[in-house]
């Protein structure tokens, strides 16, 4: 263990999915909780359905690199299964992997989704969450990401009140109703840690 360890997190998804929003939420929460942070984002052509990812690094010591070395990340949050596979190379051997199960097949040569999900299931440390289905259950179908983030929050050293504050801060411009919905989706995801039936591992 390093004296003040550096924690590396990768968020991966498809352009338009909100991966950068999720990453910025995490970044803000970790920072509010007293860590030094840096995040690398992908901009440019990303909104046109291509791959999108963000790296987040934080530590109690100052951090300088905004990207994570391959094999050095502690956690991967995959908003789409193929993107989860693509970013596995960044992870340490004992890293945690939290991934959505909903594929976005916006390309002609999209591989067999069954093969992807089966391969993911076979990897140690993978937690697969049908976040879109769960979000639908709570009548907030396009917020699977927030459910996934809620679950992932169990793996991040951030206090619950800080998450609350970060989410409120992020969505306050969109009105109280949006804040409440996002908080609800987040908390639903967060509680999945106590309900192993909803998590495929």
């Amino acid at each position: 263990m390093r004296e003040n360890p550096t924690f590396g997190l990768v968020v991966a998804g498809v352009g338009g999915q909100g991966a950068i929003t999720i990453a910025q939420l995490i970044l803000g929460a970790v920072w509010m909780d007293g860590y030094h942070v840096l995040q690398s984002e992908v901009h440019g052509m990303s909104q046109r359905g291509g791959e999108v990812s963000a790296h987040i690094i934080f530590s109690k010591d100052p951090v300088m690199s905004p990207t994570i070395e391959e094999g050095d990340a502690d956690l991967l949050l995959g908003l789409e299964p193929l993107e989860t596979l693509r970013h596995l190379k960044y992870l340490k051997k004992d890293a945690d992997i939290i991934t959505s199960m909903t594929t976005i097949e916006n390309m002609e040569n999209y591989p067999s989704s069954k093969k992807i999900l089966n391969l993911l299931k076979s990897i140690d440390g993978v937690k697969m969450i049908d976040s879109d289905l769960i979000a639908k259950d709570i009548h907030f179908s396009h917020k699977g990401n927030m459910t996934l983030l809620g679950y992932a929050s169990n793996y991040l050293p951030v206090n619950e009140e800080v998450w609350d504050k970060a989410i409120k801060e992020r969505f306050k411009n969109k009105g109280n109703k949006m804040v409440d919905k996002n908080l609800h989706a987040f908390n639903t995801g967060r509680k999945l840690i106590n309900n192993e039936n909803s998590v495929y591992q």
Partner: protein, 552 residues
């Protein structure tokens, strides 16, 4: 400005400029530099104290706006991506000779790895060529600090100062402590009468001014020296030279692995031009030197001649690092330790993943009008017997027309090249010759070709994909809209040579028929496909205009 925020490198530059009392932001959009101006625009609006944020038609014009503001004694910043500096190069290089009045900061964002560019040219070479100082930060905090210092330095040396970012810094978000006080824009005055001729680069004055610039070089070295640092240790035999993101990665590499600073002699370069004595001191203390810089071997090439027979230099030249692409910590570890970290992906898993990972390329949006326009164009060409069309393309979302099923773009070189290449091809006998350009790119540098095209009796077809927005870089407002037909008329195109088409699926049949006729004529034509950007519509960016969903 309040202290302590999470900011992108780009945003840090804009805030720093405001805090340094900048009067004006000018620029042309280009990833990864766009957010500098956009942040500046936001702050200018919030501060509401008479500052300016103005997109220009292209980078050269933007640069000259900044130089004009500087002439009045105010501070200005001009933003662009690396290839934008090529467009502004004439102004850039000659502004070194005129010198400046109010501080002028040239914010250029390079794109190593070509995330969204056609090359990965290194701005340090351009600054060197112009004999201008360049600062190279490696964290958002340094972007802030260096930008504030750049204005002071610019006024001290009476020269423009370049601040060079790269994609990983421009688009990195981190903590920035800003100054507690923000300066109001103030003027140091226009050039005094005694200096009135300094700005007139007719040969007799230019010779004098150029000599003056050369005389400033020692001062440039001296100023740069204040940013650069050399640490040597008795115990260290290996030297490392870093700059920009190379410094950031090398620092993190040592930190993550508990490697003592004393293991390496370290020359950390943050400002240019670099005093050769720093390199010589490092060479004296080292048996081998590694160079980690983004992204051309600039420092490495400086070093190599002095190291001959004394020590080995490892970097991009000897393939210790790849000759192209971005640096990262993994490459630094590979260079220094000749190994990589074990990841969760072992050989077995790698084999299984490799067969599944397909690239997911960006593509035109589902309901994008460019799709329909490409379809109309290629259908019309097919119908008149052109089975293997070659279409000159340009820079914008429509570059994605290169992909199947469109297969409708066959060149993409630099801003504006579509129309002029189509002209050159038509002159050499290509018929029909077709160039496709976006509305913003047309205003950027496509327009001059109209002047030549209007005069020839050739089958040359200039097509503007007009969505009345700068789509690719995030839907900025273009400098102008709806005036292309007027301009074409003024250059000599007749009413009958200008066509407005609406690229909607239900109009396709009609459009194809008309294009068939146009593509058969031995005369120049200007074809404008008009349909709004779907993303901009979803973001309600056209709302301030007329309520109609599509303008035709």
């Amino acid at each position: 400005m309040k202290t302590n925020k999470l900011l992108l490198g780009d945003e840090a530059l804009a805030i720093a400029a405001c805090d340094a009392g900048v009067k004006a932001f000018y620029g042309y959009p280009g990833t990864p530099s766009t957010e500098i101006f956009e942040a500046g625009e936001k702050y200018v609006k919030n501060l509401n104290d008479g500052r300016i944020a103005e997109w220009a038609a292209n980078e050269k014009v933007a640069y000259e706006f900044a130089l004009g503001t500087s002439y009045t004694g105010y501070r200005s910043v001009v933003t662009m991506k690396h290839v934008g500096l090529n467009v502004a190069f004439d102004a850039f290089i000659n502004s070194a000779i005129t010198g400046i009045q109010g501080g002028l900061v040239v914010a250029v964002a390079d794109d190593p790895g070509m995330h969204s560019s056609q090359n990965e040219q290194d701005t340090r070479f351009l600054a060197d060529f112009a004999q201008l100082p360049l600062l190279e930060p490696s964290t958002p905090q340094e972007v802030y600090d260096f930008t504030v210092e750049a204005f002071a330095l610019s006024e001290k040396l009476k020269l423009p100062v370049v601040v060079r970012l790269v994609t990983r810094l421009a688009h990195s978000r981190g903590e920035v402590f800003a100054l507690k006080t923000s300066l109001k824009p103030g003027s140091v005055g226009i050039p005094p009468t005694s200096e009135i001729y300094n700005w007139v680069l007719v040969p007799s004055i230019a010779r004098v001014r150029y000599r003056e610039l050369r005389k400033k070089l020692p001062a440039l070295y001296e100023e740069a020296q204040k940013f650069n640092s050399l640490q040597t240790f008795q115990s260290a035999q290996i030297g490392v030279v870093t700059s920009g993101m190379g410094s950031a990665y090398f620092h993190q590499y040592k930190k993550n692995n508990n490697i003592s600073d004393e293991k390496y002699n370290h020359l950390n370069v943050k400002a240019y031009p670099l005093d050769i004595n720093l390199l010589l001191s490092l060479i004296k203390k080292s048996d081998a030197i590694y160079v980690f810089e983004e992204n051309y071997p600039y420092l490495e090439d400086m070093l190599i001649p002095y190291c001959k027979g004394k020590c080995d230099v490892h970097g991009r030249r000897d393939q210790t690092l790849p000759v192209d692409g971005e640096l990262n910590i993994s490459l630094i570890r590979q260079a220094l330790e000749n190994r990589q970290l074990d990841s969760i992906v072992d050989e077995n898993l790698f084999a299984q993943i490799s067969s599944l990972i397909e690239i997911r390329p960006p593509k035109l949006c589902e309901d994008c009008g460019h799709r329909d326009a490409f379809n109309d164009i290629t259908s019309a060409l097919k119908n008149i017997g052109v089975d293997d069309p070659r279409i000159f393309g340009d820079i914008g979302c429509y570059s994605l027309g290169v992909q199947p099923p469109h297969n409708a773009i066959h060149t993409c070189v630099e801003m504006g090249a579509s129309l002029s290449m189509a002209f050159g091809a038509a002159m050499a006998g290509m018929s029909p010759s077709i160039g496709i350009i976006g509305d913003s790119t047309f205003f950027h540098s496509g327009m001059p070709t109209l002047l030549s095209a209007a005069k020839v009796k050739l089958n040359i077809n200039l097509i503007i994909m007009d969505n009345a927005i700068v789509g690719m870089t995030g839907q900025q407002a273009p400098v102008a809209s709806d005036i292309a037909p007027l301009i074409a008329r003024a250059t000599g195109f007749s009413e009958q040579q200008i066509y407005l088409l609406n690229p909607l699926p239900q109009k396709s049949e009609e459009n194809v028929k008309q294009l068939e006729q146009i593509f058969m004529r031995d005369e120049p034509s200007l074809i404008i496909f008009k349909r709004k950007c779907i993303i901009a519509m979803q973001r309600k960016l056209y709302l301030s205009e007329k309520k109609e969903a599509l303008h035709a």
